[in-house]
Subunit: 245 residues, 2 copies
């Protein structure tokens, strides 16, 4: 009902311009958006887990920017230190499987932005008890593949969002890897960034991205993650006015 | 020089009681203490790492309580969301090996309290590049043993702290495991708690501990982590007045 309330609020705002207020810029009014953000945590045993350095800043900024443009936003987020962005319905999850379930529960949507740094793998045979040093040498963690949330949402079908956007965190050959990833996943756009050691994309305030669409790659200048979120939200709104490839 | 300044401050306070102020209770004045706190993060590749659910609340509370009793405290902490406790010199580290180096740099001390949840293992052959799904199936993480900080500090020798206290996070048979751990590590006391699934010791505000010394195990009632810290600091101060086994 939160989403309905937000949608109703913006629909009303769009239909009743008031002379004494600046008209809100809400080109995404009436659209539903799903955004994923943050890391996932994959348990090893009751106390240990595999994590990654995603802060959630970029995903949260995108969710907030989409809401500001009038979209009804569901934000599915792994553990972060960030406050919930205003105007978004937030679903907190830990693992990749929980994130997939929360995304599927949010469908149907018009827009899906998969900004979360989802763990590719989880630990096979998670232990119910804390693994102990028993003199037998260190254990070996055998991993198993997690569900692919971006590919799942990109699958053709009646529930496929009209626009599916993935993220790629690469440590070299950013555009080439991201272009291949776009084709492999079946999504519409890929926002690619370089997370090499020495750059501070993970956890930092700024981001340098390439946006890969069917018609090629566009390099955006380095800017704050809030600014990347705002520009991406505007590009999404423009796409729904005049669809780009 | 921070530590010297704190020590000097408390030494002065102890020597110059003022009629118009309540006398500070600083039984640990002149003592140096080392406290470890929080989790360690062990890298897998530039973006992934193995972590644990320690919040650092218990270790930070102990450091603060020791400082309040007049000790000059160095707190060596893994990544937490906590503010630095007042009156402590804080050294931030990520990995177990960094924690050991920071502890050794803090010696000599009179008191060492190893409250951190140090990773028993790190990943052997950490990758400089992000591990990728290449169709060859999930990788297997082979682990290698981390240095044992508690056992290292407990080793007899001229630099051994007079009182070394370890923590044990167990998921069953708490007292039996912790008693065995005390003997194995060579430390003086073990503070043992149960971190089973279903209890909320990791991350929670309360703690239920057993304190194991040479003369047996003492069960403390469930109380806030701040209260556990205060009671442990008082027990440490009492030990330096009248050494317990």
């Amino acid at each position: 009902e939160i989403i309905d309330a937000i949608a109703a609020h913006f629909a009303e705002a769009a239909h009743k311009p008031q002379a004494d207020k600046p008209q809100a810029h809400t080109p995404l009014s009436g659209k539903r958006a799903l955004v994923t953000s943050g890391p996932t945590h994959e348990p090893i045993d009751p106390v240990r887990y595999i994590a990654n350095r995603s802060s959630g800043k970029q995903g949260h900024a995108i969710a907030e920017a989409l809401a500001r443009l009038g979209a009804a936003v569901t934000l599915v987020s792994g553990p972060t230190r960030l406050p919930d962005p205003p105007g978004c319905a937030v679903v907190a999850i830990e693992t990749a499987r929980e994130m997939l379930a929360a995304c599927e529960a949010a469908l149907p949507v018009d827009i899906a932005v998969c900004a979360a740094a989802v763990a590719d793998w989880r630990v096979a045979g998670t232990s119910d008890r804390k693994l102990k040093k028993d003199g037998g040498g260190p254990p070996s963690l055998s991993l198993t593949e997690n569900p692919d949330i971006l590919a799942t949402l990109s699958q053709a079908g009646p529930r496929r969002p009209a626009l599916v956007i993935g993220f790629a965190a690469e440590t070299g050959d950013v555009v080439a890897y991201a272009t291949a990833k776009r084709a492999r996943k079946g999504c519409d756009w890929i926002v690619a960034n370089d997370v090499s050691l020495g750059t501070t994309t993970f956890g930092g305030a700024d981001n340098t991205v390439h946006v890969i669409r069917a018609d090629g790659a566009e390099a955006w200048p380095t800017m704050g993650k809030d600014a990347v979120g705002a520009r991406l939200a505007e590009a999404i709104a423009a796409h729904f006015q005049t669809p780009t490839p």
